[in-house]
Structure formats: C-alpha cells, structure tokens
Amino acid sequence: MYHWIPFWPDTAAVNGVAVNNLYIAELALSALIMVSVVIMMLTFCIRYREGGSASRADRVRKTWHFEIAWTLATLVLFLILFVWGARTYIWLYRPPPADEEVYVVGKQWMWKVEHAGGQREIDALHVPVDKSIRLVMASEDVIHSFFVPAFRIKHDVVPGTLETLWFKANKTGVFRLECTQFCGLQHATMSGEIDVMTGPDYAKWLTSQGAEKSLAQQGADLFRAHGCSGCHGENSTVHAPPLSGLYGTLVHLQDGSVRRADEAYLRDCILNPRSFTVAGYPPIMPDFSGQLDEGDMLKLIAYIKSLGGNQESRR
C-alpha cells in the first residue's frame, strides 16, 4: 500500500478516522495562517521596498484595536481547537466496554502479547476487525510507548504501573507496531506487526495456536501456588477482602481514600498491600514484590477479573 514517496499513512481504525479529521482541519488552518503571513509579508516587502514609490503617509498609529481584534480572533480559534482536541482525547483514552482484552508486556526490546485464551505472540498482535480491543500494558524494565501509526493511538508503557489503551480496527491488513519512547540500544528495532483479520479468520487463528489454558486459568494456578487462596479463597477463614465481583468497583481504603479497582489498583495491592489496606481489614497481607514478574501479574489480574465485577470500568 506504500507508494514510492509515501505522503499519507494508512488509516485503519475508528480511532484513526477521528484523529485524522482533526489533523486535516488543523493542517488546513495552518496552511491558511502560513499563507496569509507569507502574502502579507511579500506584499509589504514588494510594495514598500526601499526604492518603491508607494505612499507612506497616514501610517497606522493607533494599534491597540488591531491588536485586541487579532488577540480575540486567535483566542476563539484556539479554544475551538482545544475543545475538539480534548473531546477526542478523552474518547481515545477512555476504553469503552471491550469485546476482547489483550495483555501486552514491553521489555527491551520486544513486545510480548498474551490473549485472554492463553495464546502468546512476540512482536505481533492478531486482532479481529470491527471489534473494540482493550490492551492492558505493562513494562518489565524502562518506559516504552505502544504506537500503531495506522490507528493513531499511542500510550506510554510505564514500569511500576499498568496502562490501558483501546482501538477498533475497521480494515483488515498488516500494520506497523512501534515503540516511540527511547528505551535503550535497540529502540529502533522494537517494532512489530498488527494483523487485523476477519472474525472467522481470527477464530481460526486462535484455535491454531494450541493454547492449553486460558490466561485466567493460568492465573488461578498462580493464585494457589503463591498462597493467595489461603486468605482470599472461597473457603478461607481469614478476614480478607473478597475478590469476587471486586473488579471495577470502588474500594474504600483505610487511609480514607477511594480507588477504583482497575488493573493498576490490583497490581498495586499485590505488590504493595500495606499502602492500600482496605478499610475494615487488618494489614496482614505480605507483599509480593520481587516474586512475580509482569507476565505473572497480568495472569493473576486476569484471574481476579474472571471472578466478576463491573467490566465497564473506566480509568
């Protein structure tokens, strides 16, 4: 789909269409501003050149009303752009209810992807077309940035927390995946491919991967292996917050603050439980930092989410 000299990138997602419209409007406006400055400058430079005979009499001496006029004009114009940009941004960064969730881990210098069904890939992401896909992203080392130019979406993947991003592809094909945050020696090669497939093709692809256990099942295994079930399990006698139906709800903490139980919150609680003690429970949970890598963490979170909750949570 590339020409000899590419001028315009592919647009292959609903997100991309929304950003494109704004981008084109701004390009047109920029061209208008540039052209008017150039025309004014050229006209004046030619007409009022040193040897020119144009009259210099009656120069504008009171300037303030001109200045107020173009201050207000630019202000209004800028506010329109601001509102348009901000509305689209909020829409871009607030995932709608997802049809599929995919877990992404960035590390120097690759993208590791795990699908909810347990299918794994590296530097590649297969997704169905016309479905909204929600990404939950973690980094194992430095800051990376997940960028798909054809979808016009990007979000940094920051170590120490989980980030989410969503998109809905509207075109099948293979599109570039990049890292746009400098992440060390091979940053330039930390790229991959997003393969957007039709629904049936995608289903076929999923089954051909030979995954044995879904991510949530793998998480359940970890849940038992690390002893989480001893306190948070169904039959536990320990006074620990129940995890069923937790995801996406509001949690009142001991320190008086309220947090939504999204992925980042669950991660924080597992790694640093004493800082996030739930109101009404004793601070007895040991911290698990150093015992779980980002992949395990995502599996545990997938398990906790599989216990139900408010799946439409927003960040």
Partner: protein
Amino acid sequence: MSTTTFEGVPTVGPSAAIEPSFLTSENTIGSWLFTRDHKRIALLFFASITFYFFVGGAAATLMRLNLATPEGLLQPAVYNRMFTMHGIIMVWFFLIPSIPTTFGNFFIPMMIGARDLAFPRVNLLSWYVFNLSGLVVLFSLVMGGADTGWTFYVPLSTVYANGYVLAAALAVFINGFSSIMTALNFVVTIHRMRAPGMTWMRLPLFVWAIYAVSVVMLTATPVLAMDTFLLAVERFIGIGLFDIQHGADAILWQHMFWFYSHPAVYIMILPSMGVASEIIPVFARRPIFGYAGMTIALMSIAILSFFVWAHHMFVAGISIYSGVFFSLMTFFVAVPSAIKVFNWTVSLHKGRISFDAPMLYALGFVLLFTLGGVTGLMLATLAVDVDLHGTYFVVAHFHYIMVGATVSAFFGALHYWWPKMTGRLYPEMWARSAAILMYVGFNLTFFPQFVLGYLGMPRRSYTYPPEWQSWNVLSSAGASILAIAYLLPLLYLGWSIFWGRKAGPNPWRATGLEWATPSPPPTHNFEETPVVSLGPYSYDPEDDTFIDQEGVSHAR
C-alpha cells in the same frame, strides 16, 4: 576618563585623541582572561558557544549521514550517543546561552546607557563556570557519551543506560549556575542601571526580551539543578528516589525535568524575539507595530511558560484531566506568540524596506517561527498529540523553533551588530547568500521530517523501513546545505575583521544608544552618561529620517 593602562596606544592620527576601543585597549592574554568588560566577556562567550555549536553540529552531521540509508553507517550504540550529545550540547551549550551571553552581554549595558553590567566579576565567573561545565560535557563525550536522550528519562538513565550519564548530568548541573549568574546580572542591571530618561516603556524590545528571559532563567534553572543533582545521586549511589522496584513513580522525573525544560524552550526563543523586534524596524524604517503589546506579550509568555510543562506528557500516563488543563494552558501561551507574529508582519506596512543580511535573517526568523508555531498548535491539540508524540513530527517542530527561529535570529543579531562589535563591515552579498542558503537548507532538512513524523517514524531511531528513505535522503541533503550556510559566515566574517571596510558608528542608521558610540566602542562605552528622551524606533518612512533615543534628529 578611562583608568585602564594602555599597552598599545595609537600613536598617529586623530584617533589618538579619543579613548581606544575595547578591542585594542589592552592586548595581553591576561587582559582577556581576567577582563571585567562586558564586551570582552561577550566575545569570550561567543568563542565558547561557537565551538560547542560546531561540536553539536558534528554530532548532527553524523546522524544525518547515518539516516541517509535505512542500513545506516554508525553502530546503534554510537548513533544513540550522538543524538544524546547533540541534544545536550545544543540545548545547554549553545541555544540557552547563545543570544543572552553574547549579544545580551555586549549590548544590554550599551542599550540602556550603562558602562557595564551590575556585577562584572560575576559575569566573568559565569564564563568560567560555563567552560568548566563544558569540560565535563566534553569528558562525557570523549569517553563515549551518554545514551539516554537529552531528557534523561528514568529508569533508563538511572539503571539501564551504560554511557557516561553521570558526567553529562553533572555538566548540566554546573552549566545551570552559569545561566543563573548571567540572568541575575541582567535583572539587576536592567532594574538599576538604566540611563536617566530610560523608562521601562522606552526600553528597546531586545532589552525587554532579555529581561523576560532572565526572569525565567532565574526561577526555572534552580529546579534543573535539583533535578540533575538528584539524578546523579540516584545513578551514583541509588538512593531510591526514582527506583521503580521500591514504589517510585517513573513519571515523577518527567514532571521535574519538564518543569525546567519547558520554560527552557522559552529561554531559547524569547531572546530571538527580541532580536527580530530590534532588526525589523531598522530595515523597515518605521516604528515597530504595537510596542506596548509586544512587551506585554513577552512578559505573558515568560509567565505562562511555567504552566505548560506537562504537555510533554500527554501520552505518558498522566490523568486525562491534567492533560486537558495543560493543553488549555498551551493554547493560551500560543496567543501572545501569534500576536507577535502579526505585529512583526504588520511592522512592514508602509515601511521603506531594505533587504540587508540582518533583515533577511529576521524575515526568515518570522516565517520559520510561524511554521514552528502552527505545528506547535497541532501538538498542543490533545488528540493529535497522541498520534504525533515521539515521532519525527515533534523533532521537526522543535527544530523549526529552536534552530529555524533561534539560530536565524542569532545569525541576524550577529550580522546586525557585527559592525558595532568589530568596527568592520562584512561583504554584503556573501552575507545575503548565506542567509538565503540557510533558509533553503533549513526547510529542506526539516520539512520532510514533518511528513516522516505523520507517517509514523519514531524519533531517536538509528534505522527505519526502506519506504521512508526518500524523505530521509531529502532531509540529509538539506543538512549538507545547512552545514555550508553555517560555515560560510565563519569565513567572510573572519575575513572582514582584517580586510572589511570600516564601519562608521551607525552604519544602519539606527536609533538605539549602542549606535551613539564609536565602532568598536571604547571600554567604558559612553564618555558621558547619555540622557534619553525618546522611546526606541522613532523612524519615519515618509521622508526616511529618524530621531535617536537621545532626541537628535537625523536627516536621510
């Protein structure tokens, strides 16, 4: 009268009767290295920053050579170190000190009718501190350089990078004190040492711009000192401030860094706005359009620049509401910038315009600044920034502002004030050719990068897919033209020092006090303290006369 001791007193001619110029009053090496004359210190700074400009430029040359083909020329590690050192050297060792320490140092006292800056020794110390930091950054470079990008993002810079990050951070830390000293000197000088009659609203706009930038430097640079100090300590002994494993927030560094580094962008651009406002009226032979508005715009940019830092972090994981706030503030700061563009352009209306080299640079400045500005609006727009952040679009945008605009203005100032600084005129046709070449070369280098950015090419990449090569080749070709345009002035300006025509005191027929002195000026600038009776820019295009700031009319 001067109390300096003369070693090379002119013996013949009428010039023996007047005080010798600051250039020839003393000729020993010691008289330069221990000078307290703001004009000599300005030239010392000029020598230092010119050196670093070409060091940083050499790094850029290697980068553009590497990017001419997707296969590249450099090892990835070398490329990564080159763009890091290019950024660090160009930002802190050229752009930030560029106009203030040279033309600011030289002309602020002369434009306000003072004999020197308020603290001449601090001024000299600033040069030594600058060079100390320069030695440290050269050490870092010679040992192999840092490999983090000039932004030092953690945890890459604290844990994962292998290069000489500590030395680079230390260099930036030391460098900041030079900025602070110079800025302090300007603020005190402009407040306390204006000649009688030089009221605030009679100050040339260059003085206003340097005042605005000094206020920003004074308030922002200490934050940089804290940032780089903490970074160095963290990397050296690992106190845990930025340690993700122990619950630190990776975004914290970005907030701290950009809290300085966004105002730093305005530190780089404000002085060049002052330069353009100085040059345009002289060569259009008419007053600047909206003097008061220009001063208000300068000061509001200086203040608003402190409230926009997180626009570098829209995709970094800050709260979306914080993103909305910082986007709004960024649009606000763009308003005074837009007003300035309009005012410069309309300042040509009914002028009597000549196109000498300084004017060509100033007009180039306005156009490049405008293009940098409108692309800045796109980046300020949240949703568009999500797409463009971290791509070559950003690289192109900030090079339009910092290189296109600031370096054009730097060269404009150099050509405008060269006759005053050296007493010589340069060959005009060579200078005009260099100005036009610079404009063409610059656009050819950086415009393709806008397209590359929107196609999705990430910045700081040593390689790219083959289909993007045509744009990269264009950019590299432009860079070679740009390199020639930067080297040319070195030749003909150097030539002019020895063989150039003698410039009179006021070759451009300008109104400022600096032009009321001989060229080059004597050590103490003014025989008698001038008395100011008029604002700057009293040019009349109708009959091509002007009245200087002391109130003397000059016929055409």
